[in-house]
């Protein structure tokens, strides 16, 4: 038999382990939007329960109870397995009712972090109850040996894979063909829909949590005879399992299971290849497989995870704009200096650790809090710099400020690579990819004795201008001098990150975080902003890593493991990942930091420490989805708001002129669209549309529902692939990316406005200023004044009424000084009076020299406002001309009559 085939078969057992966990991950995600990092811990619960029942004992994994209760009999396989699975189901239900139901409206990251908390608590409980020694479990499936030539395979491996596949097929069939499955799928599509049709989404979700917990428990039981049963035994399988779940798009069971099997089998094949080809690395190849598969699937398919339609949708916490840096900055710095001198020994070490971790948390604030890219690899990136610092300082003798900067720059380069997949994918898949990348870097490099000594890399320094800044001199450790160096860097990084938030780049990051499409619509180069965010964050993390290296004067992989990184991300999230203060608090809460040492000294928690931490994590997420610092920011914001309300709103000034040159109505053709065609699959949405727009006019685009109006605007703006040509002021825009078209002078608003609710009006509009490209942006105040927004300039957009929000989105498009403004339903959601007023504003915009193309259903507005109207039907322009001509055009009437209920709208 072919060796390759044999080794693929040998990988079945590993694959089945991943497949089983992936199965549970998918069921959970599909029904409640939780990427459950606690899945492996749930499998462990099933396995422990089962193992003890077989020995005639009931394990009580709860504090203050006896560890086990003796049963009169040893249970057989079926009773033990069924009871264990039932316990898992009960715990699953409990988790839903007690935790994840409360988090239904929380952002997906929040739910994921809560599941990390669950994992920590369960693992801690098992440690406390059972200890770290492995509990042996007898084989469950038949273990005869099958022989092919000189290779032998034990049958239980193959049976295990078969059982998992059967379970997945049965589950998939149940979801497909039963009423319950139908209801589940319906609720997964839209919770609102479920409410409307009278089904309680709560019940469905609860039931599904029981199912996913049972699947995990059953998987755990089946894994137990193969993998030694220890409290952390299964945790490490989460990465390949996540990869398998992604292969199933977190929604299909069978592909996820097949993916899991494939990962295991390919790993086995890689083992064979590594033995045949000595140039392959001896370490890390196994970790590479899940990563490569995820990248292949995500990047090639480039579809986001199906997000669930929940009634309330929240983003990450608000990213409050720092008001004054000087006051709090000086106070915090003085506190830091005083503490550095006041504390000594272990306490000063804890303070320094906190400060260093704060820097790494701040890197998460930039990449995740600001730019919305969930990177679980920040600690790994810190490690990259930390591991490079050794050779840089000892082999090459590069002096202090240069060596850490070089190391941080190298981390930046790696960070940009880590960020590359994020260009094609969004949301939690980014998290999974960064996690998998972290695992690979750790295995290929940090673990690898080819590059790193078993004792770790020694680091020399730091010294600056003859000043000895070593963390340790003789028995003096940690030295104040080093502590102050760290403090200075923390201050610089914190101020830098705060400044970033208020900068134009920061606004662009928040814009990307809020909505990539609308950010592109505002002229933001999404690709560039994401990469810059990853670069800045990696640089910061790298700095943190070098400081950690200097602090310990030696780095080993233990400081930078993926699991520690995951924990640090959880800490940063809980502290408040969207603000500088959150990043700093994250450092205080981090492992080895002030809080950890304080609790250890004060309460001597011992093995309970992990459990308490996990419970604290979960409670914080439920109480304060915006993190520990959230309520403080909210209180500050309320204070400011009450002050704002005292200011009386100023009336809109329509006499403001934005441009000096006189309008030239009916001038030359500024926007010309010819033969534009858009197809979705086999459906033709826009079918060779032509459009000519003259400078200084308002052109209306009307047509029945589904005529392709928005699609045409998208095609003009480059948001959807199309054929045909688009020319703006003589320049051919065909083939350009959306943000380039915006910068060329093509402003755009969206039907749903796509504003950034966290940002103030000023900031929202400011994001649009990048759209001016090489041209000068318009004056912000003048633009706001023109649209009557001056009085709310400092308010977050989320607080404004619908009409005002429309104007903000127009202002955002306008400030980039566009030649042509494309408005998609600017009067949507406005009442007649507001709509008329909007018309006036649009006219004054036109009079200021901006050409406007708009879509709207308000015929009154369109007919009265527009200089020219084009009518679209079935993706073609069927008529063009002045409003008077359009009103009487029979073709137009026919198009509208043909549509459902719009006849009267054409001939008012």
């Amino acid at each position: 038999m072919d060796q390759h085939l044999i080794f693929l078969l040998l990988g079945l057992a590993n694959g089945a382990v991943y497949a089983a966990l992936a199965l549970s991950l998918v069921v959970t995600y599909r029904t409640s939007g939780v990427v459950n990092f606690g899945t492996a811990a749930m499998a462990l619960l099933g396995a422990y329960m089962y193992a003890f029942l077989r020995e005639g004992e009931v394990l009580l994994p709860l504090p203050f109870l006896p560890k086990t209760v003796e049963l009169p009999v040893y249970l057989g396989f079926w009773p033990a397995a069924l009871i264990a699975v039932a316990v898992c189901a009960a715990v699953g239900l409990l988790l839903y009712v007690g935790l994840f139901r409360l988090l239904r409206a929380a952002p997906p990251v929040g739910k994921a972090v809560a599941s990390i908390g669950v994992m920590v608590v369960l693992t801690g409980l098992f440690t406390e109850r059972v200890g770290t020694t492995a509990v042996p479990v007898d084989p469950i499936l038949p273990t005869s040996t099958w022989t092919w030539g000189d290779v032998r395979i034990t049958s239980d491996r193959v049976w295990f894979a078969v059982v998992i596949v059967v379970i997945s097929v049965l589950l998939a069939a149940a979801y497909r063909f039963t009423m319950f499955g139908l209801v589940t799928r319906a609720a997964a599509e839209t919770e609102k829909g479920a409410y409307v049709s009278g089904i309680s989404p709560d019940r469905i979700a609860g039931a599904n949590w029981m199912i996913s917990a049972s699947v995990a428990g059953a998987a755990g039981i089946l894994i137990a005879p193969i993998v030694p049963l220890t409290p952390i035994g299964y945790t490490l399988f989460i990465v390949p399992a996540l990869a398998a779940a992604i292969l199933g798009q977190f929604s299909s069971l069978v592909p996820a299971v097949v993916g899991g099997l494939a990962i295991g089998m390919l790993q086995s094949e890689t083992t064979y290849l590594a033995g045949q080809h000595t140039w392959l690395p001896t370490s890390g190849m196994n970790e590479l497989i899940p990563l490569l598969l995820i990248l292949l699937v995500l990047v090639v398919r480039a579809r986001p995870l199906p997000s669930r339609g929940v009634i309330i949708r929240q983003n990450l916490g608000r990213a409050p704009r720092p008001r004054s840096l000087l006051g709090p900055g000086v106070v915090a710095t003085i506190m830091g200096v005083v503490a550095m001198f006041a504390l000594d020994g272990p306490w000063r070490a804890a303070l320094i650790t906190s400060l260093i971790m704060a820097i790494i948390c701040l890197s998460s604030v930039v990449v995740t809090g600001y730019a919305g890219q969930i990177s679980l690899a920040q600690l790994t990136l810190a490690g990259v710099a930390g591991f490079l610092l050794g050779p840089l300082t000892t082999d090459w003798d590069i002096p202090f400020p240069i060596a850490p900067l070089l190391a941080a720059l190298a981390a930046t380069a790696v960070g940009v690579v880590v960020g590359l997949p994020a260009l094609r994918i969004r949301g939690l898949p980014v998290a999974v990819v960064t996690l998998a990348l972290g695992v690979v870097i750790e295995a290929l490099w940090f673990h690898n004795p080819d590059y790193v000594s078993v004792s770790g890399n020694d680091i020399a320094g730091p010294e600056l201008f003859g000043l000895d800044l070593h963390s340790r001199v003789g028995g003096e450790f940690p030295r104040v001098q080093f502590g102050l160096l760290v403090l200075v860097l923390v201050v610089i990084v914190a101020v830098g990150v705060a400044k970033l938030r208020t900068s134009r780049l920061g606004s662009a990051m928040l814009a990307v975080r809020a909505n990539e499409r609308s950010a592109a619509g505002a002229g933001v180069d999404v690709v560039q902003v994401k990469l810059v965010a990853f670069a800045i964050a990696s640089f910061i993390a790298g700095l943190g890593g070098t400081l950690l290296g200097y602090f310990q004067s030696n780095v080993t992989f233990q400081s930078f493991t993926t699991l520690v990184g995951l924990a640090l991300f959880g800490t940063a999230y809980v502290a408040g990942i969207t603000s500088v203060s959150g990043g700093l608090v994250g450092g205080v809460l981090a492992a080895g930091g002030l809080v950890a040492v304080l609790t250890e000294e004060a309460f001597d928690l011992g093995e309970w420490f992990a459990i308490v931490t996990g419970v604290g994590l979960v409670i914080t997420i439920v109480k304060n989805p915006e993190g520990v610092v959230g309520p403080i920011h909210a209180a500050l914001a309320r204070r400011r708001e009450s002050k704002l309300d005292e200011v009386s709103p100023r009336p809109a000034r329509s006499d403001v002129r934005l441009r000096s040159e006189e309008p030239a109505p009916g001038g030359e053709v500024v926007l010309s669209v010819s033969d534009v065609r858009v197809t979705y699959g086999g459906v033709v949405a826009v079918d060779g549309a032509d459009l000519e727009v003259r400078r200084g006019t308002i052109v209306g685009l009307i047509g029945p529902n589904g005529a392709g109006k928005t699609t045409l605007l998208d095609a003009i703006g480059g948001f959807t692939p199309s054929t045909g040509t688009v020319r703006l002021a003589g320049r051919d825009l065909t083939g350009l990316a959306p943000h380039r078209r915006v910068r060329a002078g093509l402003g755009r608003t969206f039907q749903q406005m796509q504003l950034y609710d966290d940002l103030t009006v000023n900031e929202n509009v400011g994001v649009g200023a990048v759209a001016s490209g090489d041209r000068a942006a318009l004056d912000l105040d003048a633009t706001l004044a023109l649209l009557g927004l001056a009085d709310v300039a400092e308010r977050p957009v989320g607080e404004l009424a619908q009409g005002r929000r429309q104007l903000v989105s127009i202002a955002r498009a306008l400030i980039g000084d566009p030649e042509v403004l494309l408005l998609d339903e600017p009067a949507g959601g406005l009442d007649t009076r507001e709509s008329q007023w909007l018309g006036q504003q649009l006219r004054s915009i036109r009079d200021s020299g901006v050409t406007i193309v708009l879509i709207d259903h308000d015929m009154h507005l369109v007919l009265n406002l527009c200089d020219s109207i084009s009518v679209l039907d079935f993706g073609r322009v069927i008529a063009s001309g002045p409003p008077s001509a359009i009103k009487t055009d029979p073709a137009v009437a026919a198009a509208y009559l043909g549509a459902t209920h719009a006849a009267e709208t054409v001939a008012p």
Binding site: L10, T127, I153, I223, T230, I232, P346, P478, F557, L563
Partner: protein, 418 residues
């Protein structure tokens, strides 16, 4: 969540790679909690000789108890040894021995903090059994002049930098493997190694040249701790035609590897780096551990007088339940430290103790060493300056994974390669 899980593996591997986890405590030698199975003769403790001189303070560092490993018993064993020495051995040359303990929590910052604490408390020596953060604690002590006396380590810093003394030869197990292969005319050996630096590092750097020097080809396969089923790796290593197979990892790792070897009906010598497999784990391997060879740095033979003394000390100064193999490691470390200084009457503080340890005049028996001797300052090879021991014991495991007998193996001739 604030724990380094993988560092636990380092502890386990430090225990095992070095053939250190040896001092099995089965029911014959230590009375279980369900009754006095054995009676310990108090005579064994000898005649009282209370210490009353100026105290010498030793620091004992463990990782504490976390969800990955619990090695606090090292401190329990050390404490029992200290109490016994103060009552019966006259402490260290008459000086009362005092003990300061610290737990790293398995984090590098915790390790650094422990080092700081040891410096703050002005201990005269730091004693460590096995520690996940052993290098971090050692490096944390750098410059303090405090000697670092460790039972077993694979960390290069500890093995090479001045100020450390190691009671296990990290490559003796490899040397014994070479010797075994040579004796059986085996010219191809395979080795499955758990892929953490503490194991894969020494194997790659030392085992390969050691075997090659003896004209033996070594096929290495690193197995990630994330691998659920290691059959593919074992099959891969076997496919090259090895006639002797060594398993380097934790006892679970070894059991999994042995299972795969049994499936493949491998009939050569199998060497386990762990010499006491728990019976439950051994039972998961069809056919058990019968015939598997193992190396150990110390003995657990119930007839050995040192083992009997240790049992008596633990019975007197700790509870029966505390008498686990990790406790024995703590006990051995303290007893060896005391033995090394006995007679060196001017060794009273960090500097003088370092000096005395660096120049032990002659080899003395290692407590529970089953015939192995140690002499710090006289290393087995120039590239192992801090190692105090050369040789190792070999044992054949029974079906239940427990050692049957211990045989002294002289590996000194294999220490001079390269």
């Amino acid at each position: 969540m604030h724990r380094t899980r993988q560092s636990a593996l380092v502890v386990l591997v430090a225990l095992t790679v070095l053939g250190a986890a040896c001092t099995s405590k089965d029911d014959d030698v230590s009375s279980g909690s369900d009754g006095p199975a054995t009676t310990i003769d108090p005579e064994i403790l000898g005649s009282p000789d209370e210490a009353d001189g100026e105290p010498i303070t030793i620091g004992v560092v463990t990782d504490g108890r976390t969800d990955a490993i619990d090695n606090t018993q090292v401190a329990t064993g050390a404490q029992a040894a200290v109490d016994y020495a103060n009552d019966y051995l006259g402490g260290i040359n008459g000086h009362v021995v005092e003990i300061e303990t610290c737990e790293t929590g398995q984090t590098p910052s915790g390790a650094t903090t422990c080092a700081v604490e040891m410096i703050d408390k002005d201990v005269d020596a730091v004693l460590v059994g096995v520690l996940g953060q052993d290098a971090a604690v050692f490096n944390g002590l750098a410059g303090s002049g405090i000697p670092y006396f460790i039972y077993a380590t694979a960390a290069q810093d500890i093995l090479l930098k001045p100020g450390a003394f190691a009671l296990s030869n990290p490559i003796a197990g490899f040397g014994a493997g070479v010797r075994l292969a040579t004796e059986n005319d085996v010219d191809r050996v395979a080795m499955a190694v758990i892929d953490v630096p503490a194991a894969s590092g020494p194997v790659a750097q030392i085992a390969t040249p050691l075997f090659e020097d003896a004209g033996i080809t070594l096929d290495l396969v690193n197995v990630s701790p994330q691998v659920a089923d290691m059959t593919p790796q074992i099959q891969e290593a076997l496919s090259q035609g090895a006639e002797q197979f060594e398993l380097i990892g934790t006892e679970q790792f070894i059991a999994s590897g042995l299972k795969a070897l049994r499936q493949a009906q491998f009939d050569g010598n199998v060497v386990s780096i762990v010499s006491d497999i728990s019976e439950e784990i051994a039972a998961t391997v069809p056919g058990g551990f019968e015939g598997v060879l193992a190396y150990s740095a110390t003995t657990s033979d119930p007839d050995d007088p040192d083992v009997q003394l240790q049992n008596a000390v633990m019975a007197e100064y700790a509870s029966d339940e505390d008498n686990a193999s990790l406790a024995a490691i703590g006990y051995i470390t303290v007893m060896a430290f005391i033995a090394a200084l006995t007679g060196a009457t001017d060794a009273v503080d960090a500097a003088s103790i370092t000096a005395a340890l660096s120049a032990m005049p002659e080899p003395i028996p290692l407590p529970m060493g089953g015939g192995i001797t140690f002499q710090c300052g006289t290393p087995p090879a120039p590239f192992l300056p801090n190692v105090c021991v050369t040789n190792i014991l070999q044992t054949a495991l029974g079906e239940d994974g427990q050692p049957t007998d211990f045989e002294f193996i002289d590996v000194s001739e294999f220490m001079q390669f390269g």
